[in-house]
């Protein structure tokens, strides 16, 4: 012990002792000069003597290094030499090194990129003051103006209460431009919104309580992005008038950079004027949110929310089917904003970390194999006094070089692929724009890399330090190294296989889940259909809009290749809700508050043909169904069956509209059931009514079925719309196939990533098993040769090797399955039509890993079976 201590102290002193270095150099220089002098005295010319002496001496530098090496001094230049050595070693095993660096890099890159997204979206402070005090009420976009006004005076723990909704209107930043108008997505909110959020504008002021009243002059608060991009960052923008819709609106404020509410794609905030005299006062379209006073505990918030629900129940009557007071809660605003993306993001991050774990195991395995290969070399060098420190340093240098190369690659992958990754992540609503790779993440990547290097070299270092003592016996050292190596290899393989099982299982589950989703019959035919979302300004009259739509349909239908063109208010699978209560003829039990809700879709006659919606009974909407004619409707199959079981729905009546002015609609047709709101889950009842019979229209979606590919048609349609009325904005152009894919986007993207990760994991796992088994075979070649010389059959040897190789694989598969069962509830929420503990998928994942392990073990095993007795002699 004392010996070790003084040894260490000497080394540490020598490390810092510059004088010792200088003296050594001087001593060696003296030696060289003396050699040269001796040669000169034997008659050599001085220059020649110098040359010969130098050659005999070897390079001064190398000699000095050899001496220092015996000292065990880690000098900076020695470290450089170590690194060079490491690079040389890696180049000798280029293939394997490339695989390790590539996979480590991929693991680091994926982890870094995903971690950046997670940290920006889920950990970064929201752009609101004391965001933890802001809560969003349940029933999103479902509150009525009258309910808000009622609650305003009963806010309890909520200091401030606000109501908002999202909207959009055409806006042309440059009126002179020939382009059609584009959509300005904005929020309409009560002036209290800014009190709730607690964010001050960068310029100007928020709108105030005199401006969110009916009849007030229109004002607008704009986002930083809109200020910079559309208004050129004009410093005198406050008080400037911009035209939104057809109305001049005064800019009163510019929000600071980085502010968003509720989503980053919103570009402006306008006052919401709640007017008890307007019919919309009684429509549910608002979201409520409130800010609690400082220091209010969460329990208090939930009990107050229950009180609020009771108050609502005592003032308003809710039908049993959608009783708002039944299950009240308030969401912290962060959960409200990012709750949907949190789980998929964390799932992907977990998958990336698993991949990184496998890559680390591979790196450790590579370094371990490299160290073990050089056991004899190391044992000899250590016996010569090279010192295990020097050897350990070399191992460390190799790990560091490997990890740094991987880190560089990882950072390159993360940076270069970041935008692409963000684009395919299931984010949305402009949240992708708010994330980026930050310095913290780079630091994390660096720390991660160091940790990987240390972890990867821990096992071989320990072996070296334990066995590489001064008076080492070559045999013993080698044996010791091998025993330790075998154990570490076992652990590496077990964890690698277990991780791979998890990833393969995840991929398998998502593939099957997506298959299940794809097999769902949508009830319409999305192929060859393009859609154009048209936004008209609020003060374009319904008659003008109807006339505009008529012109658009006429022009577009006449385009070559177009088979049908129709208009609807909401696109299936994209535009969601808009339900209203309906009265049903012959069902007095379903009256009053028991009225069923139905989706209400306004369509033009050709919409059914354009969308591929099939009518099963009666007829569709006709061109004769116009204002003044018989008010008609076509309803969904489930609606008809549920309301009039065992009878034909045709000729029956449905009463729609707000209390007092109910309108009777005659059912003239029934459609096949179609997926209008979600791919999975229960479809609500649906009814289609003629656009021509509506008293109020606000924009619509043009749906075009064509023989020509939709992409080829889009420019012509866009041009036609701009020519008919440049004030109408085409907010969005999408093929119906994309809309359907959009409804499946989360499972599709998760499947993409998990399949990619699983594929890599499988390759890595197979390489790992192969490496370990072939290493074991090479170690036992002599033994095999002798046994075969003594009569063991090659088959027996082969079987034994495969069996031995498969033990850690089987253990890994078992560990993976146990882990999979443990986390199955986490994965379950991403699946459709099967559980996370699906036995078939578990079996498949286990089978794939076992097969890969078997294949990986067979190749070296076959080599073992071919060992010739002569090799036994050569091996020792």
């Amino acid at each position: 012990m004392r010996q070790l201590l003084s040894d260490t102290l000497f080394r540490i002193r020598a490390l810092f002792d510059r004088r010792a270095q200088r003296e050594l150099d001087e001593e060696l220089r003296f030696h060289l000069d003396m050699d040269a002098a001796a040669l000169r005295s034997r008659g050599l010319a001085p220059a020649e003597a110098e040359r010969v002496a130098r050659r005999q001496f070897g390079s001064m530098r190398r000699e000095a290094e050899r001496v220092r090496d015996a000292w065990g001094i880690a000098l900076a230049d020695e470290f450089v030499a170590d690194v060079r050595h490491a690079v040389r070693q890696m180049r000798r095993r280029l293939g394997y090194t490339a695989i390790v660096v590539l996979t480590l890099g991929l693991g680091i890159g994926a982890t870094v990129a995903l971690f950046s997204v997670v940290s920006d979206l889920l950990l970064r402070p929201l752009p609101y003051a004391h965001a933890d005090r802001i809560h969003v009420f349940w029933s999103d976009y479902d509150w009525r103006g009258e309910e808000y006004d009622f609650l305003r005076d009963r806010a309890g723990v909520f200091q401030h209460l606000a109501a908002f909704s999202t909207n959009g209107e055409p806006y042309r930043p440059n009126a002179a431009s020939a382009d059609g108008a584009r959509l300005l997505p904005f929020v309409v909110a009560t002036s209290t919104l800014f009190d709730v959020l607690g964010t001050r504008p960068l310029l100007g002021r928020p709108f105030d309580s005199t401006e969110d009243r009916p009849g007030a002059a229109p004002v607008i608060v704009i986002s930083y992005g809109m200020w910079r991009e559309d208004l050129g960052g004009d410093p005198h923008v406050i008080g400037r008038r911009i035209i939104v819709g057809d109305v001049p609106v005064t800019v009163v404020g510019v929000m600071p950079k980085g502010f968003y509410f509720p989503t980053p794609d919103i570009r402006a905030w306008r006052p919401l004027a709640l007017d008890p005299k307007s019919p919309s006062y009684f429509n549910g379209y608002l979201t409520l949110l409130g800010r609690t006073a400082a220091g209010v505990r969460p329990e208090l918030v939930s009990s107050d929310i229950r009180r609020i629900a009771r108050a609502l129940g005592s003032r308003f009557t809710y039908p049993a089917a959608w009783d708002k007071t039944r299950n009240p809660y308030a969401l912290p605003i962060r959960t409200y904003l990012t709750g949907d993306v949190r789980d998929p993001l964390l799932l992907l991050l977990a998958a990336a970390v698993l991949l990184l774990g496998i890559a680390c195991a591979n790196a450790a395995s590579l370094i371990l194999a490299r160290t073990s290969d050089r056991t004899s070399e190391m044992a000899v060098r250590s016996a010569l006094g090279a010192g295990q420190w020097r050897l350990a340093r070399q191992v460390l240098a190799e790990s560091l070089v490997l990890a740094m190369a991987a880190a560089a690659l990882g950072v390159a992958i993360a940076t270069a692929g970041f935008r692409a990754l963000v684009a395919v992540l299931p984010l949305g609503n402009g949240f992708g724009e708010t994330v980026g790779i930050g310095w913290a993440t780079f630091a994390a990547a660096f720390a991660l890399t160091l940790a990987i290097a240390l972890a990867a070299s821990a096992a071989p270092m320990r072996n070296l330090l334990r066995n590489g003592g001064g008076a080492v016996n070559r045999e013993r050292s080698e044996q010791g190294l091998h025993r330790g190596t075998r154990r570490v290899h076992g652990v590496i393989i077990v964890s690698q296989v277990a991780f791979a099982v998890l990833l393969v299982l995840g991929a398998r589950l998502l593939i099957r889940s997506v298959d299940n989703l794809r097999a769902v019959d949508m009830g319409f035919d999305p192929h060859g259909v393009s859609t154009y979302t048209l936004v008209t300004s609020d003060n374009m009259s319904t008659d003008d809009q109807r006339q505009f739509f008529g012109q658009v349909l006429a022009r577009v239908s006449a385009l070559p290749g177009v088979r049908a063109a129709g208009i609807t208010n909401r696109l299936p699978l994209r535009d969601g809700g808009y339900q209203g209560p309906m009265g049903i003829e012959g069902r007095p039990d379903l009256d009053g508050t028991n009225r069923p809700n139905s989706l209400y879709r306004t369509v033009t006659p050709a919409y059914f043909a354009a969308m591929g919606l099939r009518v099963r009974d009666g007829r569709g909407i006709d061109s004769t169904d116009v204002m003044g004619g018989l008010p008609v409707t076509v309803i969904s199959e489930s609606f008809a069956r549920h309301m009039w079981p065992g009878q034909s729905a045709l000729g029956k009546h449905i009463y729609s509209g707000w209390s007092g002015q109910m309108e009777s609609l005659e059912v003239v047709g029934v459609t096949h059931e179609a997926r209008l709101t979600t791919v999975t889950g229960q479809e609500p009842f649906a009814m289609f009514v003629p656009l021509a019979q509506q008293t109020s229209i606000s924009g619509g979606v043009l749906v075009v079925r064509s023989l020509t590919p939709p992409a080829a048609l889009m420019p012509a349609v866009r041009r036609a719309i701009a020519e008919i009325d440049p004030r109408v904005a085409v907010a969005r152009i999408e093929t119906m196939d994309d809309v359907v894919a959009g409804a499946l986007v989360e499972p599709l993207r998760l499947r993409f990533f998990l399949t990619l990760f699983a594929g890599i994991a499988l390759v890595l796992g197979t390489i790992g098993v192969y490496g370990v088994v072939s290493y074991a075979v090479s170690q036992r070649r002599a033994e095999f040769a002798i046994r075969m010389a003594l009569g063991a059959s090659p088959r027996r040897v082969l079987r034994e090797v495969v069996e031995r190789g498969l033990v850690p694989v089987i253990a890994g598969v078992a560990a993976g399955i146990i882990a999979a069962l443990a986390v199955s509830s986490l994965l379950g929420r991403f699946l459709y039509g099967l559980g996370a503990a699906d036995p078939a998928s578990l079996g498949a994942a286990a089978g794939v890993l076992l097969a890969a392990g078997m294949a990986a073990a067979l190749v070296p095993a076959a080599r073992a079976g071919r060992t010739s007795p002569a090799e036994a002699l050569r091996a020792d």
Binding site: F10, E23, E26, E27, G58, R66, V67
Partner: protein
């Protein structure tokens, strides 16, 4: 050039260096020369091994080093045997004789 077989046997270097220093303190180059001459060119030591061994012996406390001017007026590091180095030399010499005797006995076997 001497072949590698003429290089000094590992492990014996320490003993030979101690023996030479027992005669007189010397600098490193001098030790190398003495070794070669006294063994009539049978033994040779590479500078790396020589200085490695010297520094190790200093660390063990068997040899001490000091700087001194040579007869031609150059500064050189000299090495001298310490008291414990002397004891070490005795042990090593005895071990060597035992070992060599044993080897000789085996080689004499018919």
């Amino acid at each position: 050039m001497p072949t590698s077989s003429a290089d000094i046997i590992r492990g014996t270097a320490d003993m030979l260096i101690l023996k030479l220093l027992d005669v007189a303190p010397m600098h490193g180059w001098g030790i190398g020369q003495e070794l070669q001459q006294r063994s009539r060119d049978a033994l040779r030591i590479q500078p790396g091994a020589l200085y490695g061994a010297l520094h190790r012996l200093v660390r063990e406390g068997w040899v001490r080093s000091y700087w001194q001017t040579t007869e031609n007026g150059r500064r050189a590091r000299y090495y001298a045997l310490t008291r414990s180095g002397k004891r070490r030399l005795e042990i090593e010499t005895e071990t060597w004789h035992r070992l060599a005797g044993g080897v000789a006995l085996i080689l004499a076997t018919r």
